[in-house]
Amino acid sequence: MIKLDEIQKRLLREVADLHQVPEGAYNIRSNSAAVGRQSTANIEITPKTDVAGIDIRVRPGTKNESVHIPVVMTQSGLKEVVYNDFYIGEGADVLIVAGCGIDNCGTADSEHDGVHRFFVGKNAKTRYVEKHYGSGSGTGKRILNPGTEVYQDENSVVEMEMVQIKGVDDTVRTTTAELAAGAKLVVRERLMTHGEQNAVSTYVVSLNGDGASADVVSRSVARDKSYQKFDAKIVGNAACSGHTECDSIIMDKGRILAVPGLEANNVDAALVHEAAIGKIAGEQIVKLMTLGLTEAEAEEQIINGFLR
């Protein structure tokens, strides 16, 4: 039976929408130890022996199953690097819910660096949801540095939703993907930084086979004195199509650097990038004020919608 305290339960709700022990396969990691793990007939979770982390193996053809692998940290000063490898069998269709919540009430920095590798088999479909959240009143920083590597076999589909809305002081997110023929990658990143936070997000997506496609879209809000860098590069090595977009709202004294990049190494590669940074349009605020909202309420609604 898993025992979690109230803070751990709250973090689990924030990062995985979990109110209780999930159905299906799961691995819950708390303060550098697994506090609960369950495999199912089709999804096997085993701990690694050489480094911290787990292997998740999804049998070919597995449909409509989910894996939850949330991480919570409440002990100040904890630093860990965790390696999780996902092997998604041919033709499988699964949902993976990851995420990390750090509550740091102490003075020492807490850091979780999750390295996730996805090996997605032919015709398999994976939806990956990752939420990062920080809380706690201590001066110690809450640091998350996720590294994600995606290897997609022919005609596989991967959808990634990455969300970091609150409380993470420092983050360097590195995502690389290699797609074979007909494979499709869709990334939706939503990020909000505040205070003095720093967030760097780097993508390199290589479209190596004919018919491969990628759509990498980031929406972000930088408030207070926070800084963000979004660096997304799509490399077209075949007859493929790629789109990357960075759409940002800047507020207060926030700073944003957007570096959309495209590299075409094949005459039939069709690649597009878009980037826009700007403050909230004054007329948007006025419109919502004419509906009876105060200026602050209007801003909140606009940001909530933007990051939906």
């Binding site: 929406r219 948007q284 419109k287 509906l291 009876g292 909202l293 909530n304 919608g305």
Partner: protein
Amino acid sequence: MLELQNISFQVSDDGSGKEIIRDVSLTVPDNELIVITGPNGGGKSTLARLIAGIEKPTAGRILLDGEDITDKSVTDRAKLGVAFAFQQPVRFKGIRVVDLLRLASGKKLSVAGACEYLSAVGLCANDYLEREVNASLSGGELKRIEIATVLARGARLSVFDEPEAGIDLWSFQNLIEVFKNLRKRIVNSSLLIISHQERILNIADEIVVISAGQVERQGSRAEVLPTLTGTRAAVKGCRKAQ
């Protein structure tokens, strides 16, 4: 009832102090539809923005139901019962039509309730409720949604700034029906429409002609409309659409 008392509005971008509105006084009584018309650049839209509180007059007072709202903010005026439909509806990334209608109604609006407002402006609710109020919507669709948000406000005074601007002729025909219906259902409230369109002037109780920042003429439709037909103030829908 809305009263404008000796309203003036100056802009001084280049220090010249150009007067956009000059000593305008008018009354919008309850249960009436007033149409403000007049040549482009005459100050009509500015007047609408002054009423909504988006601009502040440099002189004069604005009263709503006897209460002086001249110094009240846009938000306060909205809460007191002023609704405003923009000439150019604002787009929002991520905010859905249903969200906007809920914000407008100021309460937890049911889906059925939201549908009612969309139906009133001739939109099939199922197709629109979940859509984002962004650039994927056409000018005509945005305009109708804008009007639906004003309906959802259930305001004492609803101000529409050139509802016909930027929409195609087909949408315009439907829009006239929307305003006709609004006119029929007007209870304990009033409508103020800025418009050039003869067909909108045709459903007015009273017409005010604003030109060069001043009230040029004011009176019942029967009095004012015959003097306008054929002038630049009233343009037939088909001519405008060309």
